[in-house]
Amino acid sequence: MASKKELVICIVNHGFTDLVMESARKAGARGGTVLTGRGTGNKDMEKLFGVVITPEKELVLIIVDEDIRDAVLKEVNAGAGMNTNGQGIAFSIPVTDVVGLNENVIKRPIAAEENNEGGDNGQE
């Protein structure tokens, strides 16, 4: 049975998605999707420093197994967290169902082949 999945969402400064993916791959993640957007920080913080910041941000979406979620978040924190130039924040939300991940595509033909072999043996 396929394991539960989680969607890891990471918001980083523009141009630092490679850092996120590199870190996530270390913990076992495969691929991700990048969206671009415009971020707005905390208004009070802006007042505190006296500058208005509207930086360009990137949002990385990565679907991972639930059992490696914590490891992925930890690696992303180390590689692209608030203490790095990426200044990323990451969190995860549950995913109910997934279609189209590579592992499903590979597993199905193998299972079908095994069934066919079993059928042949039965005929003999």
Binding site: R38, T40, N42, K57, A90, F91
Partner: protein
């Protein structure tokens, strides 16, 4: 000495990942609603709506550009955000939109939690206040 885990001496708030989809140009108003409800950040993205349209769309005159605003808010703030969004969507047909919230399962670390729940900022404000009082007393 071992450090006490953050959740043992702080009350934890459940966080929700909120997505709001509105017509192009409405994003700033939505961001204001979210910020008024203690959202730490808002992220704007642009998209295109695909809902079946009217005669205007057949003539190519409709504007189906959308603004997508994402943010994180505390769960106890969501009813207020929801009410504010509902009243905003009712302003006019141009202000219509939709919103949904998904509970966050895991976070990158304690500092990220502090940021997203505005704990860190409250702590900074408190520290600043205490410093002011100390300076006052010193004088």
């Amino acid at each position: 000495m071992a450090k006490t885990p953050f959740d043992q001496n702080h009350k934890l708030h459940r966080l929700l990942f909120v997505t709001v989809i509105v017509g192009s140009g409405q994003g700033e108003a939505i961001a204001k609603i979210l910020k008024d409800n203690e959202a730490y950040f808002c992220l704007f993205m642009h998209g295109k709506g695909t809902a079946p349209g009217s005669a205007l769309e057949m003539l190519g005159l409709s504007d189906n550009r959308k603004s997508i605003v994402t943010s994180v808010v505390k769960e106890d703030r969501w009813p207020l955000v929801r009410a504010a969004l509902e009243s905003r969507f009712a302003v006019s047909s141009l202000a219509k939109g939709l919103a949904y919230a998904v509970p966050i399962d895991a976070l990158m670390g304690v500092s990220t939690y502090k940021m997203l729940s505005n704990t860190r900022f409250d702590e900074l404000k408190q520290a600043k206040k205490e410093m002011k009082e100390l300076n006052k007393n010193g004088k």
